[in-house]
Assembly symmetry: C2
Homo-oligomer: 659 residues x 2
């Protein structure tokens, strides 16, 4: 304590000496700002101004310690705490809270402290106070092992009320449930919860470690790129920003893709940025109009290099309290992922993989299965749900069938495996014993399991069973059967994606699976000119617990190849990307990169059900800020400098009556 005071005194004196030699002194203490609320204005104001150390969480502050850091080791010390009144108990204790936790403050009961006691007892919860007092052991029997500071209490010696608090719309207690809308409207109160404090602080620490790894370990350069950019023609999800020149608009980019590649052409060598990105997706669930990605690009690297970088990045920055992650991460090809899990972002925390049982049903009497098998690409696929027959009810199976019908226009059969190995299913009597035994063997199904079977074209059946696999996991968990451990983190790379996919609305036309700048696999480059739909891209997706949290690629660095893809395969107007094509022709190095979705990554780490819980001020699912009421009406005259006017839906005219 003596040292802390001494170093502070030195600081104050140093400033004053320096200043007085030349200029007027700025008053060092501003403590009087609190005087209007001060209950004990007779306390010496100056002497306790600067009681903090020169580093740490209480540096440069009017407190000496945080509430949560106090322990038996502080017994006997005088401390000054600042925080919020959490509880007042029996006029004997105040429980004080700051971001670090709670501590119990004992209110002296003797007559000489009468004035202070009255002040304590008059406090509303969530009032902000400053308490100076001495740390002491709690009496035996009053220790609270559920509280990190439960061994001690602070015997109050002085109190200053820094601010009062009105009656709040909800209490700041972890056990108090409040609606999402109320949380959003009073976000500044919601942020006081220990969960939100934990989430935002973990996010900040994670990001700091990532920066250390990228900058200090691997020599990356943190470069900011513009968010007022050029509109992508037809970029339906881009917000527009009218400029001061009639008819012209900036747009808010969905990612800094072009800029990061141009930085490589510019010789920056290794770029990263925590990049704010924008996407106008209306009211898609759990999307935000602005989000953050860890954006990375490197020159003179290959896919394996980027993947190793990201593995190292996550291992280095992983929060200590979340265990250790092992690297390298496993890796699946796109084809394997679709075959085994029916999805390109498999949740590998549990089994229930898809099994191709076409062979088993090769000679089946069941007509619709036979028909499905004989068509080109036709197959029969099964998933085995362990203990599914034991735990899932009839309505659960109905639910699975419903999903298959409504989302995939497809029938599925649910077969319950009985103790004696028989099968309970509408199709059961049509399946001969040999088929049944082969099926059980192939799917490793045991008594009590549930088999979900579907037949049809592989590109439809696999995604269907992939969906039902997740649905089964949810249904089982809903019945209390643990399937996915929420405390484990299963990372997975998915690679060898097709470079192009048929357009949904125009299947004879190809579109980029990732984006038009992804390079083909070197061994597939010749396919661009012959069978582009068969070319695979140097694209890698990072999946965590079944969520895609990152994606990247090695980029095309050859202008001619980029032009060919834009013009001949994607049928796009290359003049719109002329600056990028020119850049590739100006000595572009081989380069590649990746972007990680930070909001999603953090939400999985902290176990939040929504990315809103890891963003300080999120928008509602309709894109509204319920606290400040953004977006809001703007009067026409304030739009005039931007040369725009509002097209009110009712005020239709000749130009605007098209859909």
């Amino acid at each position: 304590m003596a040292n802390k005071r001494a170093s502070l005194l030195f600081l104050s004196v140093a400033r004053r000496v320096c200043l007085s030699s030349r200029h007027t002194v700025i008053p060092v203490t501003r403590r009087h700002v609190y005087a209007s609320h001060s209950i004990f204005p007779h306390l010496p104001a100056y002497s306790c101004h600067f009681i903090s150390t020169t580093s740490g969480q209480s540096s440069l502050s009017i407190r000496s310690h945080t509430c949560g850091e106090l322990s038996s080791s502080h017994v006997g010390q005088e401390v000054t705490l600042c925080g919020w009144v959490q509880y007042l108990r029996q006029d004997l204790f105040v429980v004080l809270r700051d971001f670090s936790g709670l501590v119990q403050v004992f209110i002296p009961q003797d007559e000489s402290h009468r004035e202070m006691k009255d002040a304590f007892c008059g406090l509303m919860v969530e009032s902000v106070i400053k308490v100076t007092g001495r740390v002491r052991h709690r009496p035996e029997g009053q220790k609270n092992s559920n509280m990190s500071t439960g061994e001690i209490e602070v015997y109050a010696e002085s109190l200053e009320v820094l601010n009062t608090c009105r009656k709040l719309p909800f209490e700041i207690k972890d056990f108090v449930k409040k609606s999402e809308a109320l949380r959003m409207q009073y976000r500044y109160l919601d942020l006081r919860s220990s969960q939100m404090q934990y989430n935002l602080r973990l996010r900040s620490r994670l990001v700091m470690k990532m920066r250390e790894y990228l900058c200090n370990v691997h020599g990356f350069v943190d470069v900011e790129t513009p968010t007022l950019f050029k509109r992508t023609p037809g970029g339906a999800k881009e917000f527009v920003v009218p400029s001061g020149e009639p008819g012209t608009f900036y747009s808010l980019p969905q990612s800094p893709q072009q800029f990061k590649q141009l930085l490589m052409v510019g010789g920056l060598d290794r770029y990263f940025q925590l990049a704010r990105c924008y996407r106008d997706e209306g009211s898609k669930p759990d999307r935000q109009p602005e989000f953050t990605q860890v954006d990375i690009e490197m020159s003179f690297v290959d896919a394996a290099g980027i993947m190793a970088l990201i593995e190292g990045l996550l291992q280095y920055s992983w929060p200590e309290d979340k265990g250790i992650i092992n690297i390298p991460f496993p890796c699946l090809t796109y084809e394997e992922a679709m075959k085994d899990y029916g999805v390109d972002k498999p949740d590998t925390r549990f089994g229930m993989k898809l099994t191709d049982v076409s062979e088993t049903f090769q000679h089946t009497q069941i007509e619709f299965i036979r028909e499905a098998i004989v068509q080109p690409g036709g197959c029969v696929q099964a998933i085995c749900v362990p203990d599914g027959a034991k735990h899932l009810k009839g309505k659960d199976m109905e639910c699975l069938k419903q999903v298959a019908r409504t989302q995939f226009n497809q029938e599925v059969d649910c077969m319950q495996v009985r103790a004696e190995g028989s099968i309970k299913s509408p199709l059961g009597r049509l399946i001969p014993d040999t088929t049944r035994l082969q099926l059980l063997l192939k799917t490793s199904a045991n008594a009590g399991d549930l088999l979900v079977i579907a037949a049809g074209a592989q590109e439809r059946v696999c995604p269907l069973l992939g969906k039902l696999r997740l649905q089964c996991a949810e249904l089982l968990e809903g019945r209390g059967v643990p399937v996915r451990d929420p405390s484990v983190f299963h990372f997975l790379w998915v690679v060898d994606f097709p470079l192009f996919l048929p357009k949904e609305d125009e299947p004879e036309q190809l579109e980029s699976a990732h984006h038009p700048f992804t390079a083909p696999m070197p061994e597939d480059a010749h396919l661009l000119y012959t069978q582009p739909h068969k070319a695979r891209g140097q694209h890698y997706d990072l999946v965590l617990n079944g969520c895609e949290i990152g994606g990247g690629s090695i980029r095309i660095h050859n202008a001619a190849q980029q032009l060919y893809i834009l013009e001949n395969i994607l049928k796009e107007d290359p003049s719109l990307l002329s600056h990028l094509l020119e850049a590739l022709d100006s000595g572009a190095p081989p380069h590649g990169g990746i972007a990680l979705g930070l909001d999603r990554l953090v939400s999985i780490i902290v176990g939040a059900s929504s990315i809103r819980d890891v963003i300080a001020f999120p928008k509602s699912f309709r894109g509204h800020d319920l606290m400040s009421h953004a977006p809001s009406l703007v009067p026409e005259e304030e739009l005039r400098p931007y040369h725009i006017s509002v097209l009110w839906p009712s005020a239709k005219n000749g130009q605007d009556d098209k859909p």
Copy 2:
């Protein structure tokens, strides 16, 4: 080298073992992507895939070293370099460049290397190549002490051309001058210059050190705040962003001011962010529509605490090659700054302070001076320009008078002090000897100096002379007289600003000098209710070499005080800030903060004449991106989802013909 290879092999093997146990292996080398350009496809592709270490600037890369790091200590080593062809000399040498510098590559001349020599000699400058070779001493007499790698050269053993380069619009040589417009249009080439590489890398390192200081030393939390926010009514400088709901708009905020205060109310305690901010200022010189500020807010702190934090921050993060900065910084009150320098952001790198010489002229015969003195607040002020009479020409003095007339509607007198102490000036003969001697004494003027004198109301004369003081410095520097050392950094705090200033267009009405959330000085709080124009704010500006690079304040944390200021002093509608007022009433802690203008700070550190030189992709002064041509025209049908249409200036109608 052996160790490097070993560790890399381990990495590759580790991945493969792990994967092959379960899944297909992703091909570890992607080297074939370069094969289309490869001149020596017969070289073993796999063996040299991963020659890099696991950290450093060449980690995870296909190079082993950077060009600029090579020195005599590497002699004898085999290295692989990737970079751009800077020069080709006499078919004997290629000078290779990457971000780290230049290195000379020796082209073997013997017949066995004929194919490689031909390939080298066919290279266009700025082609991208990969060279493997052995480092050797340059022969005596060929060492180049102007080049950091001038002791050595790399004897090429293999060459791979990674990309070719077209004829560029300008050469990437430091001595090649190019127009600003060309630099902006081909920014990706401009970024290859050593100056831009230095600027962006220094900026990245500076920011990283700042983050370390804030997060790791003082426990700050990095929190991202929204950039899609609510429009401030009348916020003329805010960009609007139409939402999908008719007539409603987000705006891009000029700063996260409200959010940072709400974070304090939310108990975040210590917040910082490198915040992107937006301001639509049309074509003001050297402004950018988007810029970055180091945004900081703390609870339970006073002005001295924030100032000490910033001093520590700058000292900690200051680039090593720019010397050491001493803290604490000197401090001036607003009143002193105006009195001594005629400006609230004085450049203290040089003297020429303003001197009040009213007393000297108390009994003057010069009518206009006498008139000026007798009016309330009237004065005569002088600056003494050392050696000004010696160096400044007649047209320089005319220029000073011109500035005074056109910008301040005011006359000034320039008096040249002669060797014998006489004064050459139109007013000279009207000044008696006693006045003259007193004037020289008071202004410490010596023979050869120039006195610039103005008379009038103090609030006009001081800013005028403040302006002329800077003008004199520039004029002297233009004549080759050093006045301001460009390599020194003079930080200065300016404090005790008035809380309110008269509105320019409505002088009887007050507006905030800083912003409406700044708290009054505690000792001036009572003035709010009686003489608000006399109240000073707890506001501090940070000035560096005459530029304001930061500003902040202790905020109002009392809802009643905030409401009074908004309603009664500023005459604003408090309902527009109801969420903030409610938040202050919900247990807001005392808090304060600051924002530093990062672009300006970095530009001063690197000595750039424009902030464009420290931003990777800046806009032109008219807000255009000359490379991608943003902003751009957007077809009406793509605006329809946002319910807006363009008001073309020619298509006026009844609603829009107002100015």
